[in-house]
């Protein structure tokens, strides 16, 4: 079976600064693929281009056998590829429940006429989405804060909500941008558990993260980016032994894991 996500020669620059310089990247089904690299390597720009928030200047993105290069973000999400955001962006003035339900697809009540008519189809879908949101909140331990405004929950809960919103879309592939940055070690371990369990449920992940111990434990393979290109790819031990990677990312000192 072909790879779930195949990125070829992706390029994007900002006012002459080359953020992506022909990136190649493959994500196989059923993996948690790690994406590491120094700040400014182009990891987040890659996410922007793959998820449709930024049009790439060159290259292709093939997802699940379909060329989705240059598609609008909402179409890509509906196709089954959803991404999360680094600094837990989202909808602070919506409740946690609304944040979750918003990500549900196919709500007829999101058409203006149907919204005013408040038809049976919209109410039924709303009930389904509500049930799903409650279930996901339960799984992620967010039940207590369901009706709190998203701005009022803790950083760790925001990270969980970020993951929960992605799950509401029933995704095939989730791009996670630093899912455990800035959370305490206990919660980080919890999030790692969630990701492992979700992978067993059939969801594929591509994860940007700077906590290398987590990458080592969770991700295979690991892709290293530097200066807008793919520098290396392999199992974590191989990557860590690669001198080019050490030079670009981990510093000159020999890496010991």
């Amino acid at each position: 079976m072909p790879a779930l996500l195949a990125v070829r020669g992706l390029a994007r620059s900002f006012y002459g600064v080359c953020a992506l310089d022909g990136v190649d990247l493959t994500v196989e089904r059923g993996t948690i693929t790690g994406l590491i690299g120094p700040n400014g390597a182009g990891k987040t720009t890659l996410f922007h281009c793959v998820s449709g928030l930024l049009p790439p200047e060159a290259g292709t993105v093939v997802f699940d056998g379909e060329d989705v290069t240059g598609w609008r973000a909402d179409r890509i999400t509906r196709r089954g590829l959803v991404r999360t955001f680094q600094i837990a962006r989202g909808f602070p003035r919506l409740s946690v429940r609304e944040n979750l339900m918003l990500y549900g697809a196919d709500q007829p009540g999101e058409r203006l006429a149907a919204a005013v008519a408040r038809g049976a189809a919209a109410r039924r879908r709303e009930a389904e989405l509500s049930e799903r949101a409650v279930a996901i909140a339960k799984r992620l331990n967010l039940t207590r804060v369901l009706d709190a405004a998203a701005s009022d929950v803790s950083t760790g809960q925001k990270k969980l909500l970020e993951l929960g919103r992605a799950l509401m879309t029933d995704p095939k592939l989730v791009l996670l941008d630093e899912p455990i940055a800035g959370v305490n070690p206990t919660l980080a371990a919890e999030i790692v558990e969630h990701l492992a369990a979700l992978r067993r449920d059939g969801i594929t992940f591509l994860v940007i993260e700077h906590h290398l111990d987590v990458i080592a434990r969770l991700c295979a393979p690991v892709v290293v980016m530097a200066d807008g290109r793919r520098l290396a790819e392999g199992r974590f031990a191989e990557i860590a032994a690669d001198e080019r990677v050490q030079a670009a990312y981990m510093g000159r000192r020999a890496w010991r894991s």
């Binding site: 909808f91 003035r93 609304e98 919204a115 005013v116 919103r165």
Partner: protein, 292 residues
């Protein structure tokens, strides 16, 4: 006076949809108000059609203008959107002043029909009209509150917080923005039409940007995001405007120009006082309760 409060209330409701709920600033209210007023006046005076047809034409015409505006400003946000929409309202005013063949220029259009005008006493007419405006305000309040509490409103409020994340959530953001802008402009245009049929006379200088500013103030004082707040804020602003008229009457030795300036001054102070104690407005927005 309550009739004018109602018209301001309608406009504040329209603004709340696009600014309070969707987060798009629209300083072109006076333009949409004028568009609606002229559309209805022309339909009823020049074509001789009934007032109801004029109102529908006003709503549709203003909504179309709103949709075009939303499409042309699709990549603008914040200050830039504010300036372009403000420019739009001035363009409408200048077109109305200069396209004499259509609008009779600065002479304005007079003899706009009003319901039962001439057949009842002016006092009765005012009362009837107040009732009509109240029905429109109530209908708009009901409609927009229903929109706000629906999944559709949830998407609008999400776009207000972060339109990129809303796109990732699978929402076609531009379509929602255009619809919200059009519906909002339609409500404001209806208010404009009601204004014309009430005063029986419209001219370009009635549609100065100051109207927009008063509506923005009304919504800010009432509470952005909350529909009831929009209506309450409009009542409050009109109350301030009228009460300052009496207050300045007590001040001796002022020329009329100075009196006008003092009134603006007092209105400004009153709003600062409101916002000092209620920074989110009189009726702060609350997250709709989840479905039971």
């Amino acid at each position: 006076m309550l009739t004018f409060a109602g018209l301001y209330g309608l406009m504040a409701l329209g603004l709340n949809l696009v600014w309070g709920m969707t987060g798009l600033i629209n300083l072109g209210l006076a333009g949409f108000f004028a568009t609606g007023a002229y559309a209805s006046a022309l339909v009823t005076v020049k074509l001789g059609l009934p007032i109801a047809v004029g109102l529908v034409a006003a709503a549709l015409f203003a909504a179309a203008a709103g949709a075009v505006m939303a499409l042309t400003t699709r990549n603008l946000r914040g200050d830039y959107l504010a300036i372009v929409t403000l420019g739009f309202s001035e363009v409408v005013r200048l077109v109305a002043s200069n396209e004499i063949w259509l609008t009779q220029g600065t002479d304005g259009i007079s003899g706009i029909p009003g319901p039962w005008r001439g057949r009842v006493t002016p006092e009765t007419f005012n009362l009837i009209y107040l009732g009509i405006v109240a029905v429109f305000v109530a209908a708009a309040l009901w409609l927009l509150e229903r929109v706000r509490r629906s999944p559709y409103g949830r998407v609008l409020r999400a776009i207000r917080d972060d339109d990129q994340v809303a796109a990732v959530a699978g929402k076609r953001v531009i379509a929602f923005k255009v619809e919200a802008f059009a519906l909002s402009a339609g409500v404001v245009g209806t208010a404009g039409a009601l204004y014309g049929h009430y005063t029986s006379y419209i001219a370009p200088d009635a549609f100065a940007p100051l109207i927009t500013i008063y509506v923005v103030l009304a919504l800010t004082a009432g509470g952005t995001g909350d529909n009831r707040g929009a209506v309450l804020g409009a009542l409050l602003v009109v109350f301030f405007m009228e009460s300052t008229r009496f207050v300045t009457g007590w001040l001796p030795g002022l020329r009329p120009v100075q009196v006008a300036a003092v009134r603006e001054f007092l209105i400004g102070i009153s709003l600062i006082v409101v916002l000092r104690w209620r920074p989110a407005g009189l009726v702060p927005e609350r997250i709709p309760r989840p479905p039971a």
